[in-house]
Structures are given as C-alpha cells and as structure tokens.
C-alpha cells in the first residue's frame, strides 16, 4: 500500500524554527526578569516584549500573538506562578500588548518600531492595572499608582523599541 507522506515545505520549516527560537528567547527573558531584584511594585523592564515585537516584524501578526501567549504560559510554569494571580496579570498584559502592537503596526502607516513599542508598553501596564482592579482588589484607589508607572513604561518602551529596531537592522544587514 502506497502512502504519500506530506512533508512541510522548507520555508514553512524555517518559519517554525524561527518562531521556536524567538519563543525560547522570550521565555528566557521572562524567567530572567522574574529573577531580577524588584524595581518597584508590578514593574518589570518588559524585555520579553522586545521578542514579541521582533516576531511581529519578522514572522507576522499571528506568530507574534501566539508567541506572547506561549511565552507567559511556559515562563510562568518554569518560575512556579502558573494559574496564580501573577500569571493571570502577566497573560492579560502580554496578550493586550501584543494585540495593541499588531493593531498599531497594521493600521498606522509609517509608525516606527519605537512607536509600536511605546504603544505596547503603555497598553501592557494599563491592562495589568485594569485586571488587578477588576479581578482581585476591586478598589479604584489602585489607579493612583498608574501615572508614575506609565512614565516608567514610556522609558522602557522607548529603550525596548530602540533595541528591537537595532536588532532588525542588523538582521536585514546580514540577510
């Protein structure tokens, strides 16, 4: 009996390999950030968002969205916070940031990577607060903390966007 085995094309395999490489990098950064000393309540530099941004530019929107979801799931499993409030807050922030970056990249012509990263960082922080307020604390007083943390997000979003732009330019040079 003849059975034809369908093999994935080389470009499809390359796409998967790149996605997995970026996912591993994002998970490593997620774990690394969890091990960093606290820079303040609920504040992290958001280095893993750089990888989501790279996935968006290199592999496209759906790959970036899936990467954001799997990064939080596997990263939280490794640091022991899976299905805890920390996981839910991370997942909500990560997915919302990815969705905002994808939307900005597709709908705003001429936007730079720094602009996309700024939108992602601000969305990430805001959605984290909304998640905490609506699911866990139920006190609007929480939002007192939001403006100073948004200012820090602007800074990290700008740095992360610059980092992503540099990596993309080096990748294009080497191609």
């Amino acid at each position: 009996m003849n059975r034809s085995i369908s093999r994935p094309s080389l470009p499809a395999l390359e796409h998967k390999a790149k996605w997995l490489s970026l996912l591993l990098l994002a998970i490593s950064l997620h774990v690394f950030e969890a091990a960093l000393p606290s820079l303040g309540p609920w504040f992290k530099p958001g280095l893993a968002n750089v990888v989501t941004l790279l996935a968006l530019i290199i592999l496209g929107p759906s790959a970036a969205a899936m990467l954001a979801i799997w990064r939080v799931i596997v990263g939280s499993f490794l640091i022991g916070t899976l299905f805890t409030p920390t996981f839910i807050i991370s997942l909500a922030g990560g997915v919302a940031a990815a969705a905002a970056m994808i939307t900005a990249w597709r709908l705003l012509p001429g936007i730079t990577l720094i602009g996309v990263s700024l939108i992602g960082a601000l969305t990430h922080m805001t959605v984290q607060f909304i998640t905490v307020e609506s699911l866990f604390i139920h006190q609007q007083a929480l939002y007192y903390l939001l403006p100073p943390l948004l200012l820090l997000s602007l800074l990290t979003g700008w740095i992360n966007g610059g980092l992503a732009a540099y990596i993309v330019s080096r990748t294009e040079d080497s191609d």
């Binding site: 309540p41 604390i137 139920h138 007083a141 007192y144 403006p147 100073p148 948004l150």
Partner: protein
C-alpha cells in the same frame, strides 16, 4: 510625537490624581476587596498600631507608626507587599494582590497635625 503626547497626558493625569487624593485630612485606609477594614488618622504620634487584615489567603499584618505604614508579614508566596517597605506620602498605596488587601494613604498630612498651625 507619540512620546510627547503620552508624556503630557500622563503628567496631567498624575497631577489631577494627586490633587484629588490630597483633599481632606490624612488617613490610612485598609481594604479587603470592596470592604473598608480599618481607617486611621496619619501620622500616629507616639503610637504604634499593628492591624491584622483578614484577606483571601489569611492574615496580613500591617504596621502603622509615626513614620508611615508597611506590611510586616503576609501569607502570600511572593512577599512583594512586605518587600515594598514603608510608605508615608499622600497617594501612596501598597497592595497584596494574592491576599486581596490594599492599603492607601489619602489626604494631606498638613491638615492632620504634621504642623502645629498654619499662620498667614
């Protein structure tokens, strides 16, 4: 451009929130979810208070003295609330998300004894 617009909006929101929070005498409020568990005038001159706040996981111990307020212990695993340290400024908050406890400082210290009198 996006950076400047965001910066201006955030600074305006911060200023507005600070103005709203600073109204009235300074009080420390301790919440579990929507329930106000305790409310103390701040600062507490020469008096220390250790409040047991019953949360979703157990009891968070909250210590108030003349210098400020802090979580002295918490049943959560992350201990971010304890590591957060002392807070003493109007608008400061400390939250223990796993135990669902929130501590806020509202109002201005000027109105509650930080100065003996205000003379014009």
């Amino acid at each position: 451009m996006l950076l400047l617009i965001s910066l201006a909006a955030i600074l305006y929101a911060w200023q507005w929130i600070h103005y709203e929070v600073s109204a009235g005498p300074a009080m420390i409020e301790i919440y579990h979810d929507k329930v106000l568990l305790a409310q103390y005038p701040f600062p507490q001159p020469g008096r220390n208070i250790l409040f047991d706040a019953e949360g979703a996981l157990g009891i968070s111990k909250i210590f108030i003295d003349s210098k400020g307020v802090h979580f002295s212990s918490s049943p959560c695993t992350t201990q971010y609330c304890v590591l957060n340290g002392h807070h003493s400024e109007s608008g400061d908050i400390i939250a223990c998300v796993p135990n669902r406890i929130l501590v806020t400082i509202k109002g201005s210290r000027i109105n509650s004894g930080h100065y003996d009198a205000i003379v014009e």
